[in-house]
Amino acid sequence: MKRARVAYAGAVHEATPHADGTRLRLADGRIVAEDAVVWLPPFEVGTVVALGLNYADHAKELAFNAQQEPLVFLKGAGALIGHRGQTRRPADATFMHYECELAVVIGRRARRVARADAMDHVAGYTVANDYAIRDYLENWYRPNLRVKNRDTCTVLGPWLVDAADVAGPPALDLRTLVNGVVTQRGNTRDLIFDIPFLIEYLSGFMTLSPGDVILTGTPEGVVDVKPGDEVVCEIDGIGRLVNTIVDDAVFGRA
């Protein structure tokens, strides 16, 4: 089972894939084209926990040594947008990159959960594209929010796929395509800190609640993206998350 949240004809709806493979079926029975709706993040998002450098190859790409403890940072809900959304690239940015990530959605309260029980707390999965603008990186509370918590820069969706439908912990191929060309590849089996570990670790100091989401990090292959680029983050069995980069003018900025 997989579900989306979409806005259509004046209301927000739960939607599921229609049997024809292209359209959506709203909970009230209407069948609509996938480009006739506004896709929202597929669940009510609580705390957003993100991992830095959680693939060995990406850590190497950014010249980091393997760490003892995961590099965790937090994001606010204001940065989130859904599938087929627009993400703004500021005019002064020289290096803005996507990050295709498996997002783990918590379904049951987790406090001091042991690794062996961790997967029982997962509701499901979705795809995240967690943009960064490296020009704004400062060496204070890295990664500072100006790099990582910008409006429109955290894309989630299209679907929330039930954990029961994914053999877990998942070992899934993921890739990013910029204008149809594959620029990033990885497999979620290569996480340095895997999902059970992350749930055990995080729940050891912070209670996780339904709707909290863990963005598990990105592999190597991040490249600069420009206004007009279509960025697609795909994870096999989870979804294909489409996003378009736009410039300041779209947002009424000089």
Binding site: V49, G78, N139, W140, Y141, R142, R146, N149, T207
Partner: protein
């Protein structure tokens, strides 16, 4: 926490501002120019206090088993009342519903380079209260005295006069890249030398006009509740 001015409740997103007091920045001395920082902060540096950290006045806060003590950073929180996106400094305060005392509880950490999130995001690490007070009841925000007591003894006195960026300036810079929604809180920083507490102690923060936020610190929150 409910309150009696719009938007009437907290949304759950509380943002902290790093090093917004002159004394806190000055205490770092020349180290701000050295590795790993290499330069003083240029833009506003923020962090998130997630929803598991929220607590009210009177609540017990658990001291993690691996921490001997916690820091209790007194901060004036700006409660957002209207969607604030790209606000100018001149109109910034029109978007603020009021102010509230926030206790920014942390496990002490000497490095501000890439501190572990667990230092700031433990359960109960963000007591807020006792009430939201509208701006017109407060006068000049930049002249409010801040006092912290531990077990009834005055241990820290400061003033919002020590701010580097005023609330209006902070809001203008932050909302240039990040929209703040009604019910969000933006903390205006913590002065240098935040008091430390151990399990068994009580803290009380007072800010002129905002009342008194009281909390107790325990070794095991479940046993204490």
């Amino acid at each position: 926490m409910p309150f009696d001015v719009a938007p009437f409740r907290l949304s759950g997103t509380v943002y902290g501002t790093l090093l917004n007091y002159r004394d806190a920045l000055e205490a770092l001395g020349t180290s701000v120019h050295e590795a790993p920082y290499k330069a003083p902060p240029k833009s506003v540096v923020l962090y998130v206090k997630p929803r598991n950290t929220l607590a009210g006045s009177g609540d017990a806060v658990e001291v993690p088993a691996d921490a001997a003590e916690l820091e209790v950073g007194p901060s004036l929180g700006l409660v957002i009342g209207r969607t604030a996106c790209r606000v100018s400094e001149a109109e910034a305060l029109d978007h603020v519903a009021g102010c509230v005392i926030v206790a920014d509880v942390s496990v002490s950490h000497a490095s501000f380079y890439r501190p572990q999130v667990r230092f700031k995001a433990g359960d109960g690490f963000c007591p807020i209260g006792p009430r939201v007070v509208s701006l017109d009841a407060l006068g000049d925000l930049g002249r409010l005295a801040i006092r912290v007591q531990v077990d009834g003894r005055m241990v820290h006195e400061s003033s919002t006069a020590g701010w580097i960026r005023s609330p209006a300036r902070l809001l203008a810079e932050v909302t240039d890249f990040m929209t703040l929604a009604p019910g969000d809180i933006l903390m205006t920083g913590v002065p240098h030398g935040a008091p430390r507490v151990r399990a068994g102690q009580r803290s009380a923060i007072e800010i002129d006009g905002l009342g008194r936020l009281e909390n107790r610190f325990v070794a095991n929150a479940e046993a204490a509740s």
